[in-house]
Symmetry: C2
Subunit: 205 residues, 2 copies
């Protein structure tokens, strides 16, 4: 039996999504167990929510209390460190532009390293990713040139690149995060891990 080349898993995340953060901590190991790689895509949930006429779960009465509890329990369930940020809804616009700047100018490994650094900073020590000073400090800490980073997030080129990433995600059916596409099959949510794993192990079911 000759195995074909297996397609990468498309993984869509927003830097300020707790469930995307949790999934970011298991997606590479899951893919590796099944000889796959992962294509990371930074997106803005604001854009996909608008397309799907949705709002953040924390803006809904009742659901807000539940998800704030579930974020933490789901992290413990996966054995992922998690600290609830004090200010929950912040913009990930600048961090996401940096992702695409790195992706297109330095390659996907540099972008993925930044994604991990940003997600961990957000959800283990509450770094305000929408604060330029905090973001520059995080960039420097992550081995980037802080001034280059600041120039990049203000550059129309990377603004447009992020917009394209959002448009492409929406065209691919992405309406939330984390969102995965495996061989054309869509999976939404950190809680689809077991379903994805079965798909990777045995193919369509």
């Amino acid at each position: 039996m000759v195995a074909g080349v297996k397609k990468p898993i498309d993984f869509y995340f927003d830097f300020v999504s707790p469930y995307a953060y949790i999934a970011s901590e298991w997606v590479e190991a899951l893919a590796a167990r099944h000889a796959r790689t992962v294509n990371w895509h930074a997106i803005l949930l604001g854009a996909t929510f608008q397309a799907a006429e949705l709002k953040s779960p924390v803006t809904h009465p009742m659901k807000r209390d539940y998800v704030l509890r579930d974020f933490q329990r789901s992290a413990r369930f996966e054995g992922v460190p998690y600290v609830q940020p004090e200010v929950f809804l912040v913009s990930s616009l600048l961090a996401a532009r940096l992702f695409w700047w790195l992706n297109d100018s330095q390659g996907s490994d540099a972008a993925t390293a930044w994604a991990r650094a940003g997600l961990r900073a957000r959800f283990t020590r509450g770094v305000a990713l929408d604060d330029p000073a905090a973001l520059k400090a995080l960039a420097a800490e992550s081995g980037l040139d802080a001034k280059q980073a600041e120039a990049a997030w203000g550059d129309p080129l990377w603004k447009a690149r992020l917009k394209r990433a959002n448009d492409e995600a929406i065209a691919a059916g992405v309406f939330g995060a984390p969102f995965f596409v495996v061989d054309g099959e869509p999976f939404w949510g950190n809680d689809r891990k077991a379903q994805i794993e079965r798909w990777l192990a045995q193919g369509p079911y």
Copy 2:
């Protein structure tokens, strides 16, 4: 070590929720593995959606396509037979009133048997639970007196009983279905099965 009496699992469902149907097929076995029983609660998602300012997932662009696919995949994942009803959004008002009529007049076993019969009829053969003739036929098939059933669903007593069940669910924080409360801990969704099982096995985490 003396084990105390373990509290039942509260299980909230709507007769027209596919995810609640799937969960209804595993919740009793899951509970039994951990020496628990299940308290079933028929509710109307319309009431909880209103309280939480939510809408059915099938009313959202993009999310609609996803969930219609995910209902079927999630059923296959759990090994539960599932046939997508042709008309998706129907009212479960009458079926839910029958649940409470049976629960209060014949006991929870009779109510649970009706819940299973209704959910299976809906999701394996598309029975229109909002159609009085179809519902009477289903009641008769399930060993109930169809005329008594019809009288019950029109009786202000059982209308009020269902309203109370909805109010109590909302007061308990229920904003969707399936919804589970285990020792005061809330779990929302068919996809929380593994988290519930860990809770039952080892307690709070």
